[in-house]
Amino acid sequence: MSSHQRPLSPHLQVYRWQLTMAMSIVHRITGVALAVGTLLLVWWLLAAASGPESYETARACLGSWLGRLLLFGWSYALFYHLFNGIRHLGWDLGLGFEIKTAYATGWTVVAVSILVTVATWIAAYAAMGAL
């Protein structure tokens, strides 16, 4: 550890909330949520590997209203993290650092992640013949 006095950022609460900082923390939150959500994927795969009965239990749980609510949140977190992750990869390449561009790509990610989540669920219900 350093024995020097390092400069410290001011505390977060002195900042006005801005899109860019909000999206940055949401990227982390969705990342942690998706890491927890991998438990769902592993459970689903293990249930399928264990045979028809355990798969039916998993399907009933995930198909319940609570299961669908969980999966809906999971799918939004996935799309947000995916599209904002692509935005991050752009920054890694040195692209889109201008404040105007960062806001434009930011709002695009917000809009596209919502639209794709809704479209995915419409497609899933259509695939089930529920529409």
């Binding site: 350093s2 024995s3 020097h4 982390r28 990342g31 942690v32 998706l34 890491a35 991998t38 438990l39 994927l41 592993v42 795969l45 293990l46 399928a48 590997a49 045979g51 028809p52 798969y55 039916e56 399907r59 198909g63 799918s75 996935l78 995916l82 992750g85 692509i86 991050h88 990869l89 890694d92 995915t120 497609a123 899933a124 219900y125 695939a127 089930m128 529920a130």
Partner: protein, 131 residues
């Protein structure tokens, strides 16, 4: 912050006081590499799940038993858990400062990712090879 290359400090003292000089580059690279891999894999996963929405056990098992879905699912699981544990590591290092809790969480996340990843891969292989 000032460009460190213009600093009057030696490289050694810069590393001692301002950086960790561990394996940040390898971590950064692995995080981005798995991120890039997860873009097509996630899209494939979502499209597949939508088409399988509400499907009975036989259909899901038959799908996962085919070579391409099985291979892509294993790649998805490996990339996901590698990416997730790298991301969780950064979150833990940023927010948990108490040494024992920090190391304990890191061990839990790293070992948990390996265990869950292997469980998921085993499940896919069992279905693929007709368990």
């Amino acid at each position: 912050m000032a460009d460190p290359s213009h600093s009057r400090q030696s490289v050694l003292s810069r590393v001692r006081y301002l950086g960790s000089a561990h394996d940040g580059t390898a971590h950064f690279w692995a995080q981005r590499l798995t991120a890039v891999a997860l873009i097509p894999l996630t899209i494939w996963f979502v499209v597949s799940i939508v088409m399988l929405a509400g499907a009975p056990y036989e259909e899901v098992a038959a799908w996962l038993a085919r070579p391409m879905p099985a291979i892509l699912m294993i790649l998805l699981v490996v990339a996901t858990f590698h990416h997730a544990q790298l991301g969780l590591q950064v979150v833990i290092e940023d927010y948990i400062h108490q040494p024992a809790l920090r190391v304990g969480s890191l061990v839990l996340v790293k070992l948990g990712a390996v265990a869950l990843g292997f469980a998921a891969v085993f499940a896919v292989l069992k279905i693929a090879f007709g368990g």
